[in-house]
């Protein structure tokens, strides 16, 4: 195996997982911008999306239908979380809201374990498992699905924020909540929407990821940690940054494991996080006066 071939393979396999980190980072960003809260239940949204879709597919629901259903179901969970757990604390400090999301994450994991059991659940890939070849590197068709889905979501979210009234209202909230309120925007409704949107896209990410990684009640947490790193590395509050940060993390992880040691695979993400925090605290794409979104 030549060095160049290995390099290509490591890079290619890093991109797919990195894209998922990025989309989870985007989920963090949307909620953070709207409410100022870091939602620690973000990984559980990914997990729920995967489990719901895997169950639907095992009941012979076609993937084309299972994907939107799972995304929608998780979006509803997100709305419920906002209404029942976060919104009642709106007038208390941000830290209590963050704490309550930790509680929600434990709760969702517990419920998922009761419903789906402790074991990993497999899901069939969307279009077979015959590997494709990109030069000398092998790619699973599902990895292509992952990258494509992430692209569609990112472009969709961007269009939503730039070109719809609601999206613009959400951006207004992110820039200045009080001013937005004065301009007649219902901040409360925007917060609710942010949770629904963020949960929905995380759920979709969970669905496309499930065939690749399998999914279990506890599989959301490690993804959330990486997604959080991605959001920070890209500059918290910057949605393009989150995605770029995610892909960067995925590739560094893969290259680090490949060329240095697989023992420290998970340490590389945290190392990058530390480096960014020390050298460029506002993140790679973050500016000091962050415009947000």
């Amino acid at each position: 195996m030549h060095l160049a071939d290995s390099l290509l393979q490591f890079t290619v396999s890093g991109i797919a997982l990195g894209a998922i980190y990025g989309i989870v980072g985007l989920g963090f960003t949307i909620i953070f911008n709207a409410t100022g809260v870091i939602n620690f239940a973000q990984g559980e949204f990914v997990m729920l999306g995967g489990l719901v879709a895997a169950t639907l597919v095992s009941l012979h629901v076609p993937v084309a239908l299972a994907l939107p259903i799972a995304g929608f179901a998780v979006a509803i969970v997100g709305l419920l979380v906002q209404r029942l757990a976060v919104q009642p604390l709106t007038r208390s400090s941000v830290i209590s809201m963050v704490t309550v999301t930790i509680g929600v994450s434990v709760l969702l994991r517990g419920v998922a374990k009761e419903l789906w059991g402790p074991n990993s659940v497999a899901m069939a890939p969307f279009s077979g498992s015959q590997p494709l070849h990109l030069g000398t590197a092998a790619v699973e068709p599902q990895e292509v699905w992952v990258v494509a889905t992430v692209l569609v979501i990112v472009v969709g979210v961007q269009l939503f924020f730039e070109h719809t009234m609601v999206g613009k209202a959400m951006r207004a909230c992110a820039i200045n909540r009080a001013a937005a309120q004065l301009a007649g925007i219902s901040v409360d409704r925007m917060n609710l929407l942010a949770f629904g949107l963020s949960a929905g896209i995380s759920g979709l990410a969970g669905v496309v990821l499930a065939p690749l990684t399998m999914v279990s009640y506890s599989s959301g947490t490690p993804i959330a940690v990486k997604g959080f790193c991605a959001a920070i590395v890209g500059g918290l509050g910057n949605s393009a940054g989150a995605v770029v940060g995610g892909i960067l993390l995925g590739m560094l992880e893969s290259l680090g494991a490949g060329f240095i040691s697989s023992d420290y695979k998970n340490a590389f993400a945290l190392l990058v996080l530390l480096l960014v925090l020390v050298l460029r605290p506002s993140g790679l794409l973050g500016k000091r006066t962050d415009r947000g979104l």
Binding site: P118, A138, G258
Partner: protein, 418 residues
């Protein structure tokens, strides 16, 4: 929080309530467990079943014979503890229906250690001091077992562990026994295969946890003794889901076979990664994935995977003449009938440990822990699910490498490959 509208408090309550319920549910000791109707237990029923036992044709009478059981019913090792608990309940029913132990009802008191060493020690102390059990079976994992060993030795109550770590019975501890096939026996079986197929260069990949590290250690010691070269070794974290990078490196070394040491779901990712990278050399797994879950997770990438496994997983393929066949058949069928699930290796460990303890109690004609221990050490040719056990003062594991058969995945099923 002052000055909030009242319905906010209500909403907080709505969220907190399920949390509290779940936490309490987890904390509630799930013992003692009595016999229950032949339906799959829902958690609610399990708690209800905490009534003293009364059923059975020739109803056993008198003071119950109490055996403690510590399993990881929740936490990381739940896939081990869950079937173990079910098997123990099934066996308790069967024994009591047949007249109990020493004519007295058998009571298996199951405690959940939540895959936590402190919980395991508390459970052991509770079983010994409060319940006055005559022996304990379990815990499910090596760390939890090692955690309670000092307690057992001090209280002089015998333990028959369901965990496979070498250090449990090596060096020998007077009151500690174990039933699972050890890594060393599995490695011996693998070497037998490698030798027979003239494979001299292999590469290994293992999970970074005590199970994987112990397997890797055994492999590197015994393979070099057998003149088989390990070209390279890679590891992965327990929750890693992509092994492409590690496998790419191993592929570059051009080994004749890959040996993977881990428990689900990691090894399934290894199988998938090899398929993706077009690696066609044989993939040998450890006995840690000898269960239906591996077949499901690896799907078509699992085809051709080989491993040493206990006979319970492939009981249908075991010839009728084999001494283990009758008990494999009756246990596997009873388990399937009661739980609509296949009995896996771990259910088998609970079967072996509980039955070995029962026959030691019968042999000792006593429930005095010290006498049960002495009888345990004299266990000879006991036919269990993992193999035929013979404990001696020098051997508290009691199995040989014949406890393993060589199995291969064919058509999505385990097949004997001899």
């Amino acid at each position: 929080m002052r000055g909030q509208r009242p319905h906010r408090g209500l909403a907080v309550l709505v969220i907190l309530l399920p949390v509290v319920v779940l936490v309490m549910w987890g904390c509630q000791p799930k013992a003692p467990t009595g016999p229950e109707p032949g339906v799959q237990p829902t958690p609610a029923e399990e708690n209800q079943a905490a009534t003293p036992l009364e059923s059975g044709a020739k109803a056993p009478t008198g003071e119950p014979v109490k055996v403690g059981a510590i399993f990881s019913v929740t936490g990381n090792n739940a896939p081990l503890g869950e079937p173990e608990k079910r098997a123990a309940q099934l066996i308790q029913e069967e024994i009591n229906a047949k007249g109990g132990v020493l004519g007295r009802p058998l009571q298996v008191i199951v405690k959940d250690d939540k895959t936590d060493t402190t919980e395991a020690v508390n459970a052991a102390k509770d079983l010994i001091n409060t319940e006055k059990v005559c022996a304990i079976i379990g815990p499910s994992g090596t760390p939890t077992t090692m955690a309670i060993v000092p307690t057992m030795e001090e209280a002089k109550v015998p333990l028959v562990s369901c965990a496979a770590g070498m250090k449990i019975t090596n060096p020998i501890k007077p009151y500690v026994f174990a039933v699972p096939q050890t890594d060393t026996l599995a490695v011996a079986k693998i070497i037998e295969y490698l030798k027979a197929n003239r494979i001299e260069k292999v590469a290994t990949i293992y999970v970074k946890d005590p199970y994987g590290e112990s397997g890797q250690e055994q492999l590197s010691t015994h393979l070099s003794k057998a003149q088989i070269k390990i070209l390279g070794s890679e590891s992965y974290a327990k929750d890693d889901t992509d092994m492409t990078t590690q496998l790419t490196k191993l592929r570059g070394l051009q080994p004749q076979a890959i040996i993977c040491w881990g428990t689900n779901p990691g090894p399934a990712h290894v199988a998938k990664g090899m398929k993706k990278l077009g690696m066609t050399m044989p993939l040998i797994q450890s006995h840690g994935v000898a269960n239906a879950k591996f077949l499901e997770l690896a799907a078509d990438a699992g085809e051709g995977v080989m491993l040493p496994a206990g006979r319970l997983v492939v009981w249908e393929a075991v010839p009728d003449s084999h001494p283990q066949k009758p008990i494999l058949k009756s246990f596997a069928e009873a388990f399937r009938a009661k739980y609509s699930k296949d009995a896996d290796t771990f259910a088998g460990h609970a079967y072996d440990s509980l039955h070995i303890v029962i026959s030691a109690i019968e042999a000792a004609k006593s429930t005095e822990p010290a006498k049960v221990r002495d009888a345990l050490e004299k266990t000879k040719d006991f036919v269990g699910t993992a193999g035929v056990f013979t404990y001696t003062p020098q051997d508290h594991n009691g199995l040989t490498k014949d406890a393993f058969v060589w199995v291969k995945v064919e058509g999505g099923k385990w097949k004997l490959a001899e």
